[in-house]
């Protein structure tokens, strides 16, 4: 792995880099086929909507607790991120626990200053 790949790969978690994407489609002389998605579904975290009642929630996967399953971190406009612990069931489906504040190493909620 050259310096570029090493550097950037460190910034991406697991499967983000491993997924094959649509490489086959890019061999088509007409150009890559547009991605198609199923109808979107809202995600639950515990008994609430993930990212509910926030200002501009922005989700990203990151293994917060080091258990090998990437959790969902939800940042927002005020700069006060939360996270929802992810577990994978026997059928492979992911379920999310209720969101809680993301604590820094001083055990206080992280606060990315917004104006």
């Amino acid at each position: 792995m050259d310096g570029k790949r090493w550097g950037v790969a460190l910034g991406l978690a697991g499967a983000l880099c491993a997924a094959p994407g649509d490489a086959a489609a890019s061999d088509d002389p007409a150009g890559p086929a547009p991605a198609r998605f199923a109808e979107p579904v809202r995600l639950r975290a515990g008994d609430r909507w993930l990212g509910g009642d926030r200002l501009y929630p922005s989700p990203v996967l990151y293994d917060v607790d080091g258990d090998g399953v990437r959790d969902v971190v939800v940042a927002d406009l005020p700069g006060k991120p939360t996270w929802a612990r992810a577990t994978r069931g026997p059928d492979g489906a992911i379920s999310l626990a209720a969101e809680k504040p993301f604590l820094g190493r001083d055990e206080r909620p992280l606060d990315f200053s917004n104006w």
Binding site: D2, Y56, S58, P59, G92
Partner: protein, 336 residues
């Protein structure tokens, strides 16, 4: 704020890179004990990294500075997103900076090393398909991910769209494939992954505005799905009203409008009073701050009853005539 978990100084711990609406990137440095308190990321000269528009924490005001764009009259663009990526293939991480206004993308070169980044403080516009990268409906945050599986990192980005109105076009998610060679990043023209929302739904059906996207293999089937946060905006279908209910709705609307006009008048008087108190005075003086606080308390006391009445009227009205709704969620777009 978007998020990137990246080992910015190659110390073996992921750091948390972001940017907020104060107009600068912030970094929470990682360690084995966790993340430290976020701090502003600085350039090689120790200056705050900006595009042009930013919130001055000391002066408590918004400012525009053209130093990072080499422009005496720079476009008023605020950095609200940041991503570390080796754009030129030299082995260190450069900074991609995204603007809110115009949805521009800039690169700030790292002239240091992988271990000790030294950002130049100067931004250069990034192109996509030979034209300046732009999301006129305002960009939320870019991310780099190997979307097409060709081994290099492509860019996906969300946009805000009209985040408040229920009729203006909403946000979307775009892709810019990396078609560069020899480790250098070059973006092809933008492709749409999720089209701009037309809005107008009667229930939450998708994120309509303020779309922040991450590309993840959520279901473990080997392709990349999209996880998208944002606002859903909808108006529930109104039911048929009886003649009595219609009359009641009309009465509630009339009274509600009168109360809100009263509140608007009070708001204008409060603003005028604050202007009078602050005009020509030192904005940091204790006397001025106390006078403003007193004026605010008088305004809040005077408007408490009409504000409560307005809410009561609105609640009763919306039991008859549904109000437009706007709530945040995170959505999964599973790749077919």
């Amino acid at each position: 704020m978007g998020s990137q978990f990246v080992d910015l100084d190659l110390d073996g711990h992921l750091d948390w890179l972001s940017a907020t609406f104060d107009g600068s990137p912030h970094l929470a440095r990682g360690s084995k004990e966790g993340f430290g308190a976020p701090e502003q990321l600085l350039d090689a000269a120790g200056r705050r990294i900006i595009i042009s528009s930013f919130w001055d924490w000391d002066a408590k005001t918004h400012k525009v500075d053209g130093r990072a764009l080499d422009a005496a009259s720079p476009p008023q663009e605020r950095c609200v997103s940041a991503w570390a990526h080796d754009m030129d293939g030299d082995g260190d991480l450069d900074l991609l900076l995204g603007s809110y206004e115009n949805g521009r993308l800039y690169v700030q070169w790292n002239e240091g090393s992988r271990e000790k980044p030294a950002f130049t403080g100067r931004n250069l516009p990034v192109a996509a398909g030979g034209a300046p990268f732009a999301l006129p409906e305002k960009m939320t945050a870019p991310r780099m991910v190997d979307w097409d599986g060709d081994g290099d990192l492509d860019l996906i980005a969300g946009s805000f769209g009209d985040s408040y109105g229920h009729e203006g076009a909403g946000g979307r998610v775009v892709l810019a494939r990396n078609v560069g060679r020899d480790g250098k990043t070059e973006f092809a023209a933008l492709e749409t992954l999720i089209p701009a929302s037309p809005k107008g739904a009667k229930e939450p059906t998708r994120p309509d505005a303020g779309l922040y996207a991450d590309a993840v293999d959520w279901d473990g089937d080997g392709d990349l799905d999209l996880l998208v946060g944002g606002y859903s905006m909808w108006t529930p279908e109104a039911r048929s009203l009886t003649a009595e209910e219609e009359a009641e709705a009309e009465r509630l609307t009339k009274e509600r409008d009168e109360v809100q006009a009263e509140l608007a008048r009070a708001g204008r008087e409060y603003s005028a009073e604050v202007r009078k108190i602050t005009e020509g005075k030192d904005p940091k003086s204790a006397d001025l701050l106390a006078a403003v606080a007193e004026a605010r308390k008088r305004y809040q006391d005077a408007t408490a009853a009409p504000r409560a009445r307005s809410k009561t009227l609105n609640d009763a009205l919306h039991r008859l005539v549904p109000a437009p709704a706007r709530e945040t969620f995170v959505w999964l777009y599973e790749r077919k």
